[in-house]
Amino acid sequence: MGNPMSTIVATQPLPESRFSPGFRLAMLLPGGLVTFFLILFALGLVLFLAFRGNDGSLLGAGFTFANFTTVASDPLYWTVTLRSLAIAGLVTLATVVTAYPVACYLAFHAGRRRGLLLFLVTLPFWTSYLLRVFAWKIVLAYNGVLNSALIESGIWSEPTLAFLNTPAAVVVTLAHAYAPFAILPIYVALDTIPKSLLEAASDLGARPFTSFRRVVLPNSMPGVLAAALVVFVPTVGDYVTPALVGGPASTMIGTLIQAQFGKANDWPFGAALAVAVMLVILAVVLVVRFADRRFGSRT
């Protein structure tokens, strides 16, 4: 049975190859510096600053909960947070739902075209985010592409202001900007479903739709959840898209944080808002983890 050689190789414990201390140190140093200093320490600074009062100095003064009580008690911040959650949630839903069939095609039907298609859907991922948002600004503007095209083709007689500066514009723009993020995780999840499962379903008499609903969909949930997370996190904190196409009615939490570190110049309060956003993201990650364990029992 099997290849005895490979069995031996696989079961015999590897010769204990601990790295020499010098090599270990040299190899751990760059990553260690970046992760502990630039990521953990810098995030720690945000947390620290969030509990300080604003006296104009870099690290604030005194220990206070005032920033958090303001965030929690002022309805403005609740409105903006809920709006950010709603926009990011809609964007996530839209990107995942539209990406799923594409991932399906890539995994099951693409054949020889798979490599090219994968390349085409990931290419926008590496192009400038600012330019992709800017493209939507020229599409939606009052005397922009969409209005002029509609008038030119006789569907519209007057340009409308209804496109730009709406939360809907933010949702569409963000969904477009983050579309490529969602495809890869779903595709990988679909592609790693053992083909034997699908054959078994079909052999047992399941119709294609049933086998999709009962076999493919549940097995792809880990990818769907990963995709949702990868889209949700950057969109919930975004401030560029609301600024370019959103108008005042679609101020998001990222906009407020940016303002505290800019015009408003209240860094401790901005830090408190950032901590609040991280808590929201943490909650979402925990929900996803839980859902992953619930539905994604494949591994």
């Binding site: 010769p15 751990l28 399906c104 926008p124 600012l130 800017f134 570190f261």
Partner: protein, 292 residues
């Protein structure tokens, strides 16, 4: 042929049509930038007014623009070097270091994907002010190392994992030191992935706006320059000409990086040893941040 097969095939062609529509939606808005960059009108609107190179001509001799371009190139090169170096060492120690510390570092290195850019930006802004050099080009370099780090770690990890373990063990058995094994065996074998990681990190930095916005001092990068120009309707055509050039460069670099990454992974597949330890996922070489 069973009925189910035929159904599946029909479903495939419907899906194929959907994918086509999806791709059009993906590329259409972005393709308007090159389209209108050649349009002889200040307004980005239909009907097109005629063909011109005028807006491209305005790109030359603009000292603010060439300064921003130089900044972007320098920052991109340094940040990509840093991110690639970290990606190589972090993923190597993650796979072969056998220590909780190495695994922790690797996990934290992929964390920035779960932090919105605005928070990465402000946390580094506080940090660089605390250290003393404040918003500057160095600050942007640090920010871009963080932004590119998850990509480089994931690319290098999937590449190292695709190298059969037996090759590394053979080197060690033949008496090569850790350092020699790393430098003479593992690095040359993963060279295409290193180049690919560097290029993608460079692109990430070159196109990055959200973090750089907080960390820029008096020396803007190219995306920051574009942002500053967006306020003036008169300069929109120039922005579109500049955007077209950036898109073209991005497409070419991303294409080369993808080709290298896949070629590297394909090359690793050629000698097919009985290597049971190799996880199946790494063969396709797709970017996956949540593989753990």
């Amino acid at each position: 042929m069973s009925a189910a097969r035929i159904d599946a095939k029909k479903g495939g062609s419907w899906l194929g049509a959907y994918v086509l529509v999806y791709l059009v939606f993906l590329y259409l808005p972005v393709s308007l930038i090159p389209l209108f960059s050649f349009n002889a009108s200040i307004q980005a609107a239909f009907p097109l007014q005629g063909f011109t190179f005028e807006w491209y001509a305005t790109l030359f001799g603009n000292s603010a623009l060439s300064g921003a371009l130089a900044n972007s190139l320098v920052i991109g090169a340094i940040a990509a070097t840093g991110a690639t170096l970290c990606g190589i060492t972090v993923s190597y120690m993650d796979l072969y270091g056998r220590s909780p510390l190495a695994l922790t570092i690797s996990a934290i290195a992929r964390l920035p994907i779960l932090i919105p850019g605005v928070i990465v930006g402000i946390s580094l802004l506080i940090l660089v002010n605390l250290i003393g050099f404040g918003p500057s080009r160095i600050a942007i370099v640090l920010g871009h190392i963080l932004v590119a780090l998850p990509t480089t770690v994931v690319i290098m990890k999937s590449r190292f994992a695709a190298i059969p373990n037996t090759i590394r063990e053979a080197a060690l058995d033949l008496g090569a030191s850790d350092w020699t094994t790393f430098r003479r065996v593992m690095l040359p074998l993963s060279l295409p992935a290193i180049v690919s990681a560097f290029m993608l990190a460079f692109l990430t930095s070159f196109d990055e706006f959200i973090v750089a916005f907080f960390l820029a001092g008096t020396e803007p990068t190219l995306p920051l320059y574009i942002w500053s120009q967006l306020r003036f309707p008169k300069s929109l055509p120039t922005v579109m000409a500049l955007g077209t050039a950036i898109l073209a460069v991005s497409f070419v670099i991303a294409a080369i990086a993808e080709i290298l990454r896949h070629r590297g992974l394909a090359a690793a597949q050629r000698p097919v040893p009985a290597d049971l330890s190799k996880p199946e996922e790494t063969e396709r070489g797709e970017l996956q941040w949540h593989s753990t």
